[in-house]
Every structure is written in structure tokens, then in C-alpha cells.
């Protein structure tokens, strides 16, 4: 693969340091995947100091990280560990007693019919959401990065859906998708087409929920990409343009590599948040139609824990989801890091 475009440097003394050119500048993202073997290699460019400086750095790091870590451990990890424990039990959520059942919840989940439906719903939903909202977010950020009149207003409009809560959108979108009174039905009727019944047919319901979620969360990818675009190196682009590179080449070879960290970040966070969708589904379809037409993993956790009263089984589903996400994310992180190291 030819190295990204880098020839002249524009005015102003800048060292070309496009992120993806792997150089001898210490790649700090190394530390994500590499095990901390025998102390980190002497980093380049560090001012000379004695080992007490190293110790001081560790203390400082500890101080800076401690408050956040304590909060996360107490309020996120403690319940998570509790959840692991619960997944091996058969606990009715109102019951004062709890009984140990070993792996039977897991076996049940892996062998039940409805698990396939739930997993399939989650996969379809997630893949569609991640793919579409990230591409659209980038496209819109690029479009609105240009100096066009009225772009502030349009930026606010694109961000506005993200501002509304998922539950409120779920409720409000009945006026979009209702087969008798909704916006879609009205537009289709003017074109002479009958509106599909989004709420009664499983495939359409999943489509509706997916579209609603993408509409709502577009602003997230958009804003992150927009911020990233602000920090990019205009001089490189200029230089490439001067050299006669086409727009597409400039996009592929100059811009995209700079956006790699952002794309990497978004692919992880959008994936994680879309797998955990709940509010929109709860407000729009309650997981239906036909029982689990739009039930995804987190909704199944809610359903099993609070509706079917089986907190142990719900904990099992949550644990499976967590482990899958953990594996997927670690994999993503490693792939991204390998890709950025040539």
C-alpha cells in the first residue's frame, strides 16, 4: 500500500506527522495491546530524569485515575460481578431466597428457540446502525465543514434529534409511523401506496425501530467527526491539491488516515451503544410484535428480569452480551492498532 500523500510541507514550520505514517515517533497507542512487559521501553524524546521522576509519574497517574476508577468500580463493576453471580442462580426477583443452579441458565439460553430471534434482531439492528450512522455522520460532517451559508442552522438541526431522549422519540414517532395517522402513511397515500403496518409486521417493525434509532443518533457520529475535522491538517490538503491530486485521492490518502482514530473510536462506541438499545424499543413496540419481533439482547434482559420475574436468567443474558461485546471490542482494538502499525 503506497504511503499516504506526503510531499511538500506548506508554509509554517510543521513536521509532517500524519497519524498513519508509522514513524519513530513513539506510538503511544502501543500500550493498549502490548502487555506491560518488564517496564516500558525508554520512550523517545523524554526529558532526562531520574527514576524518582518515574515514580512521581506513577503517583500522579494514580491520583488522576483514582476518582473515576473508584466510581466505575463501585457503581458499574460491583453490580457486574453481582450479575455474574446471579447468572448461576434461579432467583425470582421478588423472592427473598435464592437457589444455585450452576450452568443451567446458560444451557437454556443457548438451546432456546427465541434466542436465535433475539440474537438475529440484535445483529441486524447493530450492523445497520453502525454502518449507516457512521457513513452518514461522516458525509454530513464533510458537507457541513465547507463554508456554506446557513450551515450553523443545519448543524443544529442534525444534532437536534440526538438531544431528544429515546423514550420521547419512541413516543413521538408514532406520529411518523402510525399506519392510520402517521407522516409516512400520509406521504405514501398521496403517492397512492398503502402504508405497511409498521407495528404489526415483525420485519417492518424492526425496520422502523432501526430507522428511528439511526435518525436519533446521527447527531452523535456527526458531531464527533465534525470535531475531528476541525483538528485536521489543512496544510497537507493544500499541498496535495497543489500537487494536483484529485478530490478522491485527497480524501482517501490525506483525510481518511487522519480520521482513523476517530473512525476507530466511533466504530466501538456506536457498536456498544446500539447493541444496548432499549428506550426506543420499549416506547415503540415493547419488544413485539409477535412477542419478540423487535426484542434485542438488552430488551430480553429487561423482559426476563422484570416481566418474567426470572432475574437469574436475565443476568445470564446480560453476562453473555457483556462477554461477547468484550471479545468484539478487544478484537476491534487489536485490529485497529495492527492496521495503524505498518
Amino acid at each position: 500500500m503506497t504511503p499516504p500523500y506526503r510531499k511538500h510541507v506548506g508554509s509554517g514550520a510543521r513536521l509532517s506527522n500524519v497519524q498513519s505514517t508509522q514513524t519513530q515517533v513513539p506510538d503511544r497507542s502501543d500500550e493498549v495491546t502490548g502487555p506491560p512487559a518488564g517496564g516500558p521501553p525508554p520512550p523517545v524524546g523524554e526529558p532526562p530524569h531520574r527514576s524518582s521522576g518515574r515514580r512521581w509519574e506513577w503517583t500522579l497517574a494514580g491520583l488522576l485515575l483514582a476518582p473515576n476508577l473508584v466510581l466505575l468500580i463501585v457503581f458499574t463493576y460491583r453490580p457486574l460481578i453481582d450479575n455474574f453471580r446471579l447468572s448461576f442462580t434461579d432467583w425470582n426477583i421478588s423472592s427473598p431466597t435464592i437457589s444455585w443452579v450452576g450452568f443451567s441458565n446458560y444451557i437454556e439460553w443457548f438451546t432456546r428457540d427465541d434466542t436465535k430471534t433475539v440474537v438475529l434482531n440484535t445483529v441486524i439492528f447493530t450492523v445497520a446502525t453502525v454502518g449507516i450512522s457512521m457513513s452518514l455522520g461522516l458525509l454530513l460532517a464533510l458537507l457541513l465543514d465547507q463554508r456554506l451559508k446557513g450551515r450553523n442552522l443545519v448543524r443544529s438541526a442534525i444534532f437536534a434529534p440526538f438531544v431528544i431522549s429515546g423514550a420521547a422519540i419512541g413516543i413521538a414517532f408514532q406520529f411518523v409511523f402510525d399506519p392510520s395517522f402517521g407522516l409516512v402513511q400520509d406521504v405514501l397515500a398521496r403517492l397512492g401506496i398503502a402504508s405497511p403496518d409498521f407495528y404489526q409486521q415483525s420485519n417492518w417493525a424492526l425496520f422502523m425501530v432501526t430507522v428511528t434509532y439511526i435518525w436519533k443518533n446521527l447527531g452523535y457520529s456527526f458531531v464527533i467527526y465534525l470535531a475531528a475535522l476541525q483538528g485536521r491538517r489543512a496544510d497537507l490538503d493544500e499541498a496535495a491539491e497543489i500537487d494536483g491530486a484529485s478530490s478522491w485521492t485527497r480524501f482517501r490518502r490525506v483525510l481518511m488516515p487522519q480520521l482513523r482514530p476517530t473512525t476507530f473510536f466511533l466504530s466501538i462506541t456506536v457498536l456498544l451503544s446500539s447493541v444496548q438499545v432499549f428506550d426506543i424499543i420499549y416506547a415503540m413496540t415493547r419488544g413485539g410484535p409477535v412477542g419478540n419481533g423487535t426484542t434485542t439482547l438488552v430488551f430480553q434482559v429487561y423482559q426476563e428480569t422484570f416481566v418474567n420475574q426470572r432475574a437469574g436468567y436475565g443476568a445470564t443474558v446480560a453476562t453473555v452480551m457483556f462477554l461477547v461485546l468484550l471479545v468484539v471490542t478487544v478484537f476491534q482494538v487489536r485490529v485497529m492498532d495492527k492496521g495503524s502499525r505498518k
Binding site: I73, S94, P96, P289, F306, V307, R310, A311
Partner: protein
Amino acid sequence: MNDVTRRGFLGGLAGVAGVAGLAACAGGSTAPASGGGGGQAGTAGQIEFWSNHPGTSKPVEQAIIKKFEAANTGLKVKLVDAGQNYEEVAQKFNAALAGGQLPDVVVASDVTWFNFALNKQITPIDDLLATAKVDTSDYVDALFNDYNFSDKHYALPYARSTPLFYYNKDLWKKAGLEDRGPKDWDEFKAWAPKIKAALGNGQVALEMADGSNYLDWYFQNMAWTFGGGYSKEWTPTFSDPNTIKAGQFLQGLAKDGTVKFNKSPEADFSAGLAACIMQSTGSLGGITKDAKFDVGTAFLPGDGNCPTGGAGVAIPMNISDERKANALKFIAFLTNAENTVTFTQATGYMPVRKSAVDLPAEKAFLEKNPNAKTAIDQLAKTRSQDNARVLLPGGGARIGKGLDQVAQGQDVATVFKGLDQQSQQVFDSQVKSKLPS
């Protein structure tokens, strides 16, 4: 030197983890060994009432509370916003059971009360009622006995509703039908062609809620009129030939386009898109306001086959006796004749006391609102819901899913057999062992 320091740092991290571990054990891990955590603590003389304000009843509840406090100096009631629907109240109550102060009174719906009772988290109130000298015979029998479990009552009826048959009088006239509801489902089937002939474009004869919106509640009426039902006591009866017949009847209606399923039939009905619907009495107020035509109400088709629904008020088990006694005073007051009239007139629920209909305020109201009278008269023809729906965890959702499948054309016998098996399995694993022998 470096090694020591690094070890020290890592040791620090481990220490944090250790603290968290201790926090997990000490700081209330879920599922306490017995009874719910700090349930004893409560403010003296204060009654905490957890309500979802069914039917947007917060102002009415506050008014009733004021009257109670005036009549009982020394007792204060704290009204807590416990959720936007019955499921959320149950969720909040379950969280409190796992560790936290318990309320004194909690709203429990037809599908959530039993799990609390079975797991001994709400109190049987018969003794408390006797001590407070409450005349329980004045409660509408079906409504009061809905909360009967092994000869003990676990809640008082509060916000109770039944389904009602609403019909569009104008369309009825156009179809040449008498101004009344069908007396049973056979008659409705006979009427259906006439209704359909009178319909315009985009209109449908009957609309019913779908499986995610309590079709399982309404369908009990159909199942019962055909002689079947979801269960007899604890035995699931979905595969009973009569129940299957009812299912096939519903499927037939769906196939020939007589019935359409919707998440909110009342919206379509009020807009004139459906000639008739089966909906909760709670929607009466809204429908009357929204409909631009004459709204007729009738008993559900089939005589004496109307299910009840809605919620009651219960008292948690693990609070002090003094708190229980005060709580009972409050719920007895909340559901007395005068207050049930005030409450139901403001919300559209059914008065829970027999003597309520004789009160002048109610008489005057019923004269002005004959449709409300239909609902109240139907109370005499109600029967308790089937165990498989209300007493088995997740019963409603399970049956709703099956009915959705039936409505979309799947083989009724197969679907219902599946419901039999699932219901039996849930009973065996979750309920049977906890039943008193």
C-alpha cells in the same frame, strides 16, 4: 528500586479492587438472605403511598389524601411518583425489596400482585381489615376476590376496569343494526357483512389491540364465551377444543378482514376508522371527548364473560405492625364508597364498592353519562381472570405472543399447544414449589 515502586503501584490497584470487593459484599448485594433489608425504618405517623397515578389521577389522589389527613390527625400521607405504568411501580418496588426502605402502600396490578404475594412480600390483610372493622362485603365481589390466594386477601381493589364494547352509533344506523351491542359472537358474525357493507374506504368493522397491547386480556372474553379458557385453576387449558374454537374464530375474523389489530384501537375508533372496538372502560372519557360521532357502549358479547383488570393497593409484608395498621386505615379510606366515587368519576375506572352506585353524587353522574352506567352494570357479569394469564409470571406477554401468531395465520392448535407446554413449564419451575400444600 523500580521494581518495588511498581509492585507498590500494582499493589495499590489490587487494594482498590479489594475494597470494591468488600463493598460488593457489605454494601448490599442483591438478593438478601431474608426479608427486605432496611424495611423496618419508616417515619412515625407517615404513610408512604407508591402510586403510578393510574388514569392521570394525581390531583384526585392528592385531594383524597387531604381528606384523610384531616380526618386522621397525626397521620400524614406522602404520595410518591412511582412510575408511569404498573410495570414501573413493580420495578421500583422490586428494587426496594432488594434493599431499601419499603413503602407503606403500593399499587399492584392484576399481573404483578400475585408474584409479590407468592414470595411473601405483601401482607394478607384479612386480620387487619377485621381489626379496623371494615365491611368487606361491600366490595364488589369479583373485584375483591381477584386478590384471593389460599383463602387470604392480599390487596384492596383500587383502580379497576373492565373491557367494554364501544360502537359507532352512526355507522350502526347506516348498517341497519339495532342500537345495541351484539349479544354474543355468533350474532356479531351475522352482523359483520352488514357492517362491512356500510363501511367506506379505509374503514374496518372491528379493531382489537394486538398482543403487545393486552389482546390476551380481551381475548379471555372470546375464549370464555366459547366455553374454553386459558386455564382451570392451575391446569392450562389452551388445548381445550373450545379454546381452540375461539382461537379459530378470531383467526377467521382476521382472515376475512373483519378485524384489524392495532396498538391503539381507540384512536382509530374516535377518528371513525373502526365501527366498533373492545377497549378498557378507562378509555371512555377520552373516546367521548375525541369522537365526533355518537358513541354507544354495550356489554361484551356473551353473557357474564367479562374479565376484570386494573390495579389494587397492597401493603408490604416486612414493615412494622404499626405501619401496617396505619396503612390499612389509609387504603380502607381510599377505597370507601365516597372516595371511590370521586376517584372513578375523575378517571374512568369502576367504583369498587357496591354501595357506591347508591350515593347521590354517583347517581347524578350516571344519569348524565349513560355509557358509564353500562360499565358499572356489567360489573355484575364479571369473572376473575384465568390463572395462566395473571398468576403465572410473564403470562400476559406469553399469551399475547401466541395470539399474535394466531392472528397472522399460524395453526391455532399448534400455537395453543405450545402455550399449554410453556405455561405448565413456568408453573412447575416457578410457582408450584411455593404454593402451600
